[in-house]
Symmetry: C2
Subunit: 247 residues, 2 copies
Amino acid sequence: MANHPYIILVEPQLCENVGMAARAMKNCGLENLRLVKPRENHLSDKALAASSNSPEILQNAQVFDSLSDALGDLHYVFATTARHRDQTKMVYDAPQAAAEIANHIAREEKCGLVFGPERTGLRNEDVSLCDAIINIPLNPQHCSLNLSQAVLLAGYEYYKTTIGQTKPYFETNHTRLADKEKVLLFCRNLEGRLSNFANFTDEAKKDKLVLNLRNIFTRAQLTEQELNTLYGIVNYLAEGDFSSDGW
Amino acid sequence: MANHPYIILVEPQLCENVGMAARAMKNCGLENLRLVKPRENHLSDKALAASSNSPEILQNAQVFDSLSDALGDLHYVFATTARHRDQTKMVYDAPQAAAEIANHIAREEKCGLVFGPERTGLRNEDVSLCDAIINIPLNPQHCSLNLSQAVLLAGYEYYKTTIGQTKPYFETNHTRLADKEKVLLFCRNLEGRLSNFANFTDEAKKDKLVLNLRNIFTRAQLTEQELNTLYGIVNYLAEGDFSSDGW
């Protein structure tokens, strides 16, 4: 298994939450699950159903009697907690913690993310076994997260560090953005048909309207196919010509 | 209500998912929920229980007969979808989309995030009413998210834009980091007690050991209280002196 962070759930109460945590792990490309004294059977039908096609994460989960056993072979471990713990420890938000984990993993050290029981969270003695604390930035008036959602947010921030920066992109339906010559030709064609249009009889108003129209059709980032459609529509409106090919 | 983004759920199937989405919204400081033809009653006991103390979001939710009605007074709207839609539209990942939404909100424009039904996602005609697409970066082999988890991730990225950059910080239990003079004094005190310790009889080895010890106690970022504890321990080990005050 790849050296991704280990997700360690301490005394989870409900097996559905363990299943949903497994699903969230799979969403984030994680696969190493450890359970410390789970109250319910993590291989029950309820847990498997909640995992939504991620049974292998539950089946491969390792079960331990104590958190110290579960952390034994790991090198750097974060405790997740929203409460101030009166302990002396670095506190990172989730993106910073993800970057720190990525650093350790690059050095082939094994990392863990430790989550406490649903109602109570981690005990102070559990936190003391961890190197640092993750604080997920959320509404301070309502920061209690479902267990699987806490796993999802921490895992999501880690996943983002593994894929590098993505860029916004333009999704098209197998056509290309029209080049400026074609867009301007369309605008001129349209302007040519507006000679008797109200504002076009006043030269100053006409110039302003031409600018506005060109801005509209430039800003719309028209594809060649869309430009073709607009030609057809303008032709049809002006002449009743229903040919869709206006070039 | 503050001008935060509107969360718009199109034909949600299960009222628990609507409740959990309300909980996720509250986690992210969001409060404006719109529902388009929900199949179940979003004010049922099941929905309210799933919302985990966020009943006001469900009670204030607005219900519409169509997505176009639900979007009527909004200015900029993202469709959430993991599938390629064969449409011509900008696709942003969740952090980029959050930044774009923050820009619109700064201009006092109303923004929306549109989520489709649990099993099928948004229809193409729904996507065509939206300005752009959000693609949440997740494991491409398993990117199907529970509805409330999709709301959580999109809302979380927006929430982060509202709080500015946070910095890692050092949480302490009402004590301060010890200053360098105190740390060095402790190291010298310890070194002074090691005169007959194996490596200290060899000058070259001693120098190396001194460096190592100073690195250990410097890297540990000791607080004044912890340094005090260590003094007590060293005294006890060396002399059987159990006084906890070693200064």
